[in-house]
Symmetry: C2
Subunit: 201 residues, 2 copies
């Protein structure tokens, strides 16, 4: 599976290595992404890999950031659709992406960040980005009412838990999971006293 050695400029090489790590996340959790294997597939020495990422942890943080970016991009869909349709499209993309990369997300969401502050920060920033995206689509990202912000933040946690729990336990079909998450947001926006926003968009 090793590709022939080719000269890449440093930025392209970094991107290639992170991309290989990201691919590996589809079949295993982050802490099982092995440096040796990445170096072999990239056709470079372990030493050269450490030139780009001084420690295994640096590499894992870079891969986690890329995974977060990837998840945020894949769920940034449905622009131009009415608010509720766009929301549903985004929830579908989230559930499908997490289902496809199951081992990595289950481990990540279940806390295999290993208490590492930088990995925790990637996780927190991802939750914040999802929260802001919902508030933005409600036209309220700049000065969100604190109750609505808290409700949306709680919904992001609910979304992760319902998805990961479903992947480990089953019992529902994909449509039921998407409906539950989707309907939960509309209900929680109403609980936060902002129901006009969700139904008026």
């Amino acid at each position: 599976m090793a590709t022939p050695r080719t000269r890449l400029d440093p930025e392209a090489r970094r991107a290639q290595l992170v991309g290989l790590g990201l691919e590996m996340l589809s079949t295993r959790p982050l802490d099982k992404v092995a440096i040796d294997e990445i170096a072999a597939v990239a056709g470079i020495s372990r030493g050269l890999l450490f030139h780009y990422f001084p420690t295994k942890r640096d590499f894992h943080v870079a891969v986690a950031r890329a995974a977060s970016q990837d998840l945020l991009e894949r769920t940034d869909v449905g622009h131009g659709l009415p608010l509720l349709d766009r929301l549903r499209a985004s929830v579908e993309a989230f559930v499908d992406h997490v289902a496809t990369n199951r081992d990595a997300y289950v481990a990540f969401i279940r806390g295999s960040s290993g208490g590492d502050p930088e990995l925790l920060d990637v996780y927190e920033s991802t939750r914040t980005a999802f929260t802001d995206r919902v508030l933005d689509s409600l036209g309220l990202v700049d000065v969100p009412p604190p109750l609505l912000r808290a409700a949306v933040r709680g919904w992001v946690a609910l979304t992760e838990e319902v998805t990961v729990d479903w992947l480990s336990r089953g019992g529902l079909d994909r449509g039921e999971v998407v409906d539950l998450i989707d309907d939960a947001l509309v209900a929680l926006i109403a609980v936060a006293g902002a129901e006009d926003l969700a139904t008026g968009g």
Copy 2:
């Protein structure tokens, strides 16, 4: 602060040591609960402590289990009250206990289990116990409809996130946080198609 050496039978000694660890959780996260300090306060040698708990990790797992048990007991309130009042009393107890033991819970919920499978298991079991308690109060713990179980499980994650986010960010008062969590459960039960249960209790 050291107490005089006293002879305790093994079970009482274990309980004493775990109790001291639990007390320490009110001011620091679990991974900062130091073995040396526990031994000093208990008036025993570090060696004797390791006789009861062969590794630091064994001790931390025992303290985490005790913390989970403690949280479950403290929130098991309001028996005899109507369903919604009992729920509210339990949510209040949860928010207050987490607020009092802030550092420990923020770290725990934010993933400082360090990827340790036994600590993750304590965390998962706690979430499951909260989920089952709600289903039990709805009279459905034996054969919960899968959609309702998923909704309640999601609500447990929402409850943790809203509480921990509030403790780190502020912006709401305690009553607003309790109302939000409380109203969220009623709304989510309705989303799961079981609204008769919540209002009929």
